[in-house]
């Protein structure tokens, strides 16, 4: 499904031994962002997750181009990620792919059906 480039560019992820939450590295390089524990193991996040909630932002601070879509989505095992969405609306329950992106995004969500 994914090209080797995008797969290798995705941020590495960690999983917390204390609370089981998983997260990509930019979220918390040394400690779990949810409980502060430092017992972190490596984990591979599922490529496809599910939108927990999303909104289309139409008024933004100066400098941002509107509209844009934002979402939280869950990726196994135990990651809830926030990102901008590419590929249109992403109502709750929509499958989205995790795709690497330049800073400050680090990663974005891509609506499944728009991907080859």
């Amino acid at each position: 499904m994914s090209t080797p480039e995008t797969a290798s560019a995705l941020p590495a992820a960690r999983r917390c031994a204390c609370c089981d939450a998983a997260f990509p590295l930019p979220e918390g390089p040394d400690r779990c962002p949810y409980c502060g524990d430092d017992r972190l193991g490596e984990v591979t996040l599922a490529e496809t997750g599910e939108v927990v909630s999303s909104t289309v932002v139409r008024v933004a601070p100066p400098g941002a181009d509107v509209p844009y879509t934002l979402a939280y989505a869950d990726f196994a095992p135990g990651a809830r990620l926030f990102a901008r969405v590419r590929g249109g609306a992403a109502p709750i329950g929509t499958p989205v792919r995790l795709v690497a992106a330049p800073e400050p995004d680090h990663y974005i969500f891509e609506v499944e059906e728009h991907h080859p």
Binding site: S53, V57, A60, P61, R80
Partner: protein, 380 residues
Amino acid sequence: MTSRRVAVIGTGSVPFGKHEDASLEDLGGSAARAALAEAGFEPGRIEAAFSSNVLGGGGAGQRILARAGVHGVPVVNAENACASGTTAVHLARLAVAAGVHDVVLVVGAEKMTGRFQGGITLDRTDRPTLLGLTMPAIYALNAQRYAYDHGADLDDLAEVSVKNRAAGAANPQAMFRKPVTRAEVLGSRPVADPLTLLQCCANADGAAALVLAAENAVSSRHDPVWLLGSGLASGSPIGPATEFGTSRPSRLAARRAYAAAGVTPDAIDLAEVHDAFTIGEIMSVEALGLAGPGKALHAVAGGELSLGGRVPVNAGGGLLSKGHPVGATGVGQVVELVAQLRGRAGERQVGGASLALAHTVGGGVATLDAIASGVVIAGV
């Protein structure tokens, strides 16, 4: 722990709105002097002061209180985002209840207009904020999830604005005194789907103040309203366990306030609730136990939360009508509760009110589900 009864014996406020020529110190000083005048106390009677402000920089309390002749006494500057004012009231109540002080002053003030474009931004360094997660967007995410989980019609959120703006029309202190229709709310500028401009409160300048006293300092010239309990809670990082469409910090603050006051939600006669956005009132009303999970939107549409309904919520117009001078908001809510409980709320009076609640919840740093929430319960 033995605890003394705490009364509000003086209130003062500067109506929320645009006060272009007034400084933060002017606004707060006016409210503080008005509260002292109502209590009939000279500034020298104040033993400690609790000031709430978010945007005015360090030592706002001391700068404000200098305008009210309050010098030398302990001053605590409270900053807890939108819950700052409630935090100051909570700390002041505890100081009197614990017997540390007999008479204290609370002052909340904010100078906001002209400072922000496109909504307030309190922290620009976290990744969600850099990616454009504005305050309306955070509430919009909650609204979408609420509708999904409860099968609600997102357009019904407009009824919160209709209710609160109708209430604001009857409040001479409100910033907006023109009622709005459902069609006007839904037809106003889209901000973050499903929220439209008329579902978002306005930034404002303003101030509010209270004089609190222990029972032994209350005299026959006072018309005391008793602070029966209060509670404070903080948010948690948004993560796998976060339940969008609900407010856990508000639930925790409410639980603590109800426990402190020794009352249950069904005894509340009226509530001033944090309606910074329409969905905020819905989530808050459920967190406060004033409606069951998934029931608050129906309660609004059915008139249960309107003046004359089961438990009027934001009979003063709410933040949607009054505006939201962040640090002043929570103190202003208590000023409103006092007017209601004294039976002096005029056209917006809730008949027979004897127990009332005020609630704020503040966000701002988007990695957390809130910064803080505070609840105050008052009665006569």
